[in-house]
Structure formats: structure tokens, C-alpha cells
Amino acid sequence: MTAVPEGCDLFTPGHRACGGCGPALAARLLLRATGENVIVVNSTGCMEVFSTPYPETAWGVPWIHSLFENAAAVASGIEASLKKQGRSEKVVCICGDGATFDIGMLCISGAFERGHDITYVCYDNEAYMNTGIQRSGATPYAASTTTSPAGACSPGNVRPKKDMPAILAAHGAPYVATASIAYPADFEKKVRRAINTPGPCYIQVHTPCCTGWGFESSETINMAKLAIETGLWVNYEMANGTVEKAKKVKRKPVEEYLSRQKRFQHLFKPTRRDDLIAEIQRIADANAERFGIDIRSKEPRE
């Protein structure tokens, strides 16, 4: 337990994340949106490790890490405890996609079903990065990871991303949103809306990881943008289970996004895999259709 020096930003520089780390940016934007009156619960993963090597901490707000999988349950207890003491701090979880989609699912489902007034933010870098780039339920189709390696008889990850926002919306969450670090103001606005909405709210923020995906650390924001521009990531909001707003785009072919990342290199070298690229394009097309994100000829760009 370490005190934070005075006069620092809420998420202070000097942490140990890789240069160009998407999740580190998400943490900073998150605290900009919440302000000081918040208690943050973190799960085990890159963010916990790069932000709190004892005796240093990058967190200028009260912060707790317990385990990989229990952030939502710890947050439930904190919220109940604050309520009992008549205190008003907001409770926010920030957890990786592995902690959220896979191992923490039980605790999240319980917390959402019970209706705790917490905001759960998943920083989605699409794999377990802290243990060395293994697949999670958030890993996209055909991405090569160390546990879903591409090979002579494998396309890489064989399953599409699990639809966590829909699962949490089905729990009756009053507010569910997706966001991207490429659009900081939008992410911050969504965080503010979530913490001001009573009940359990969920935000999944797309946070490219240069190390795990294999791109230059100066390219993080571009990569996040390309995910949106290809339709492979959609920024949208859901209130009480209904999609309210999805960001419209003039779509680019998925190849522009895939070809710039090492995790998809097997789609291009040694032989081009048009079949797999076409399959990923179909996923993007289905996203566009489902959320109505295509800008048609006369529509203004949002």
C-alpha cells in the first residue's frame, strides 16, 4: 500500500508499459473522465503490472488489485461498503479481455445480475498479453497467437470474437457501449455517461497492443482507427438493450488493417490466403449490416 505523491496527474507518467501501449492510454483517458472521486478495481494483467511495481504506483486515485478473475466481485463489495458508510465515490473496474471474456465471466455475470452500481471497463487488446500473447475469447478470427498459432492446418484463431456487450446487455445492463482509444473524446463521454447511470454499466474499449499484434509503437492510434474504418470494430452505445448509436464510416477493405500486423501475416506470406481474407471481410460486412454503419452516397459523414 503506497501513497501517491501530490501534484501528479491521476494516471501518472513513468509507468512501465511498452511505448505506444493502447491500454495505458485507455487508463489515462478513463481517469480523465472519472475525475478524483472514484475507486478503481484492476484485474491481473498488463495494466496491473505496468502501473504498480511496488513501491511505485501510477494511480492517483484509490486503486485495488486482488486477482485475475474477481474484479467485479471485489467491486460489488466495495460498492456495498460505500453504500453502508454513506459515501459517494464511484466504483470502476478496468480489466483486460482475458479477465473479462474468460476467467472473470462468473463474477461479472453475478455483479450485473445483482445490479450493483458499478462501471466495468474492459480494455480489449484481443489476447492475454501479460502472459505472452495467448488467445482469449476476444481474439479475432484468424489471428495468430501463441496458443492459436497459424500453421499448415490452422488459420490461427478458429473462432470469432465472443459478443460480450450483447451478453451483458442481456443481463439487463442499463448502459453498454464500445469505444476506441482512437476517439478519446467519445470514450471519455461514454465513461461519464456510464458512471452517471445507476446500475451496472459496461464499456469495451478497443486498445491495440503493439507488442502482441506486431506493429510499430507509433502506429497504435492508426491501428485503432483502421479497425473502425474497416468495420472490424464498431463503436456503438446500447441503452437498456437497444443499440442507440453506431459510428458510421466509409469502409475500407479489411486487408488494409490486416496486412499491417504481424498476427495476420500468415494471410499474406508465404502464400496469399484469399479464402481467409474473404472470411474476415464477411465478418466486417456482417458488422456493418448489423449496426448500419455504412455511409451511403448522399448521407453526411458523422
Binding site: 503506497t2 475507486i39 474477481n70 466481485a73 466495495i78 456495498a80 461498503s81 458508510q85 462468473l106
Partner: protein, 384 residues
């Protein structure tokens, strides 16, 4: 005033009077009556607590951890498979130094599935950093909860505690108990005063990761706190005795030990049977005695050595087994007495709810005196 009530309800009554602000628990036999009774008290506005109906034991203890870190007194209860599911959180709670009190309604662990009593569950978590005390009867179970909160929350300790009492044998048994009044409990147990808490006006980071430069020192501090807990427990026990005239200040208790040649060593409700067995053996001219271990963590090795000075043979009754080794209590008693010249034999008894009677205990004493021990006692060889 003595009242006849079920053990579980007696525990629920005292927990209520300890004024937990947050309760999170998940039902499991034979703990269930405790958490049901507390839920009813909350529903009836008799207990002003937030009762979180979690979806698993793993979440129960996780929620307790969060609530405690945010500055509330918390309570949970579990047993057996439930405690096993909490394993990871148990270590974490102790490492984060949260003074959570949890009742363990001791039960065996599967497989095979068994809902009956032994002490395998809590013993298996002996290395987790939680203090562990074991009650012989329901009065002791009630009283140990008050003392446990006092000890855990003491700023010289700041560790969690299991208050263990045997499933069914105590949880479901109606016995006369005296439940202190709210005023009496308030006088003994002050409101929770957290050493540190999650608080926006004083931002602290809890549960950071530690490199090899720091990890060992954290573990050392927990170990020191365990050892200090013995002193704090003795003091809390003495004050309890002054107020309630029931004395639990010693981590071990001797029964007819003064001149004993052979001593039985045991924990929990089996001590009641063992006392009767000692009386009968005494009547038959045998100088037997009993050493009851009340506190298993921190382990009272010194007190055990003192209490067993002059005893030539010790028979440990273990209601648990570290498979491939021996009983948990026996192993530690042997270590405590090594070099003393006392012969220590370990007996694995009454696992999974099997009965153990006075004549069994007398038989075990005979075996020990013949130098035959370190065995499962009472096996039905015909089904092997």
C-alpha cells in the same frame, strides 16, 4: 442467561451482535442455517447490514475483500467445497491484510462426495495466512467470534480468521448457550477502525505486484503478524474472561494433564468425547489426560511443549489427512515435541462423519502405549 438453541443459530445471533456492515455468503451444507438466519435478520431490519447474495463462494470472499478494503466490518461463512473454491482469495485476503472473520462449519472434501464432518477443509488452508481457532462446543463457537473480530482488527495483527466448528456435531446440535446482549458485545467489541481503506480523499494503491526485491518482506510481515496474534489473542481472551467469566485466553487447554503419562491431543468437538474417555480411563486406573488445541494458526508449539512436559506418550487424533504423509495436527505436534523424548503417535480418525466413541479413544490410548501408531483408526477392512 442460558438458552437452548441450534449451533448455527447461536453463531448467527452473535454475528449479528458483532455488527457486520457487509455480509457475502453462499449456501453450503452444513453452513446453510447460519447464512439463512442472517439473511432473515437483515430482511427483518434486525441487522443493519448489506447482504450480498453472490453467485459463488469465490465471489463471496472477493466481495468481502472489497467491502473490507473500503472500510466496513464484514462476515462470511462456508465449508468444504466452498472453502476450496475460495482458496485463491483466501491467500489474497491475508496478503492484503484484511481482518475478515469467516465461520467454517467443518466438513470433509470430495471425492467421494460427503457432507459430514471432519476438519480437512480448514486444515488444508493452514498456510494461507488466516488465523484458525477451533471450538469444542457451541458456547465456545459463539464466544470465539467476538474474540476473533477483536484480534483480527487489532492494528498489530490485521489478519483474517477462521472460526471453525464441526459440521452437524455442533452446527445442527441444540445445546444450552449464553448469547451476550448487544450492550455487552458493544462494550467488548468497538466499531471497526480500519488501519487503511480505499478512500478518494487519501488515494492508496492496494495489491500491487512485487518483484523479488520486496515479496519476501511482505511474507515476513504476515508471519510476524501471525506470531503477534498469539499475544493479542491472549489479551483479548483475558478481557473476555473478565467481562463474561469464560476463559479462552490460552491457545491450548489441558484436561487432567498434571500427572498424566499418556496424553490425547485433539481439536474441536471430539474433545468433549475425549474428556469423558479420560474420566473413564482414570476410573480404570490409567493416568490419561487430554490436550485440546484451540488455536491452530498461529501454531502454539511452545504452549504444547509446556503442557506436555512429563508426558511419556502422546496420541494425536487427526480428523484430516495430508495424503501421502500424515495428519496435519500430528505432524505439527511431532515437530513441536521433537527432541523432548516424548513418543508421539498419530491416528487418522472419524473422517467423513464416521463416529468416534469413548471406547475408540480408550483403544487408541492402548495402541499408543503399545507403541503402535501413525495409522488410520477404525477402518472397515471388509470393504477395502
Amino acid at each position: 442467561m442460558l438458552e437452548i438453541m441450534e449451533g448455527s443459530h447461536a453463531v448467527a445471533e452473535i454475528v449479528k451482535r458483532c455488527r457486520p456492515q457487509v455480509i457475502a455468503a453462499y449456501p453450503i451444507t452444513p453452513q446453510t442455517h447460519i447464512v439463512e438466519a442472517l439473511a432473515q435478520m437483515v430482511a427483518d431490519c434486525e441487522l443493519d447490514a448489506d447482504y450480498i447474495t453472490v453467485e459463488s463462494e469465490f465471489s463471496a470472499l472477493s466481495a468481502c475483500l472489497g467491502a473490507s478494503a473500503a472500510g466496513s466490518r464484514v462476515y462470511s461463512a462456508t465449508t468444504s467445497q466452498g472453502l476450496a473454491l475460495m482458496f485463491e482469495v483466501c491467500f489474497n485476503v491475508a496478503g492484503l491484510r484484511q481482518p475478515i472473520v469467516m465461520t467454517i462449519a467443518n466438513r470433509s472434501l470430495g471425492a467421494p462426495l460427503s457432507i459430514w464432518n471432519d476438519q480437512q477443509d480448514s486444515i488444508s488452508l493452514r498456510d494461507s495466512g488466516w488465523l484458525q481457532v477451533y471450538a469444542e462446543d457451541n458456547q465456545e463457537a459463539v464466544d470465539l467470534h467476538m474474540i476473533a473480530y477483536r484480534v483480527c482488527e487489532d492494528h498489530d495483527v490485521l489478519l483474517p480468521a477462521f472460526v471453525c466448528f464441526d459440521g452437524y456435531v455442533l452446527t445442527h446440535t441444540y445445546e444450552p448457550v449464553s448469547i451476550p446482549t448487544q450492550e455487552e458485545v458493544d462494550a467488548y467489541l468497538p466499531a471497526f477502525n480500519p488501519y487503511q481503506r480505499l478512500d478518494a480523499s487519501n488515494p492508496l494503491s492496494f495489491g500491487m505486484y512485487a518483484t523479488p526485491d520486496y515479496y519476501m518482506e511482505f511474507r515476513y510481515e504476515i508471519d510476524r503478524a501471525q506470531h503477534r496474534a498469539k499475544e493479542v489473542f491472549a489479551k483479548a481472551g483475558r478481557e473476555f474472561a473478565r467481562q463474561f467469566e469464560r476463559d479462552y485466553s490460552a491457545p491450548v487447554e489441558g484436561y487432567r494433564l498434571e500427572d498424566a503419562d499418556t496424553a490425547i491431543v485433539a481439536m474441536g468437538s471430539i474433545c468433549g468425547t475425549a474428556k469423558d474417555a479420560v474420566d473413564e480411563m482414570r476410573d480404570a486406573g490409567k493416568t490419561a489426560g487430554l490436550l485440546k488445541i484451540r488455536m491452530f494458526r498461529p501454531f502454539p508449539a511452545e504452549e504444547i511443549r509446556d503442557a506436555l512436559k512429563g508426558v511419556s506418550t502422546v496420541a494425536v487424533l487427526d480428523r484430516n489427512i495430508s495424503l501421502g504423509s500424515g495428519g496435519g495436527v500430528g505432524t505439527e505436534v511431532k515437530a513441536a515435541l521433537s527432541g523432548s523424548g516424548t513418543a508421539v503417535y498419530d491416528y487418522i480418525v472419524a473422517l467423513g462423519g464416521r463416529d468416534i466413541r469413548k471406547k475408540d479413544i480408550a483403544g487408541i490410548v492402548d495402541l499408543a502405549e503399545e507403541g503402535r501408531g501413525d495409522m488410520f483408526y477404525g477402518l472397515r477392512t471388509e470393504v477395502l
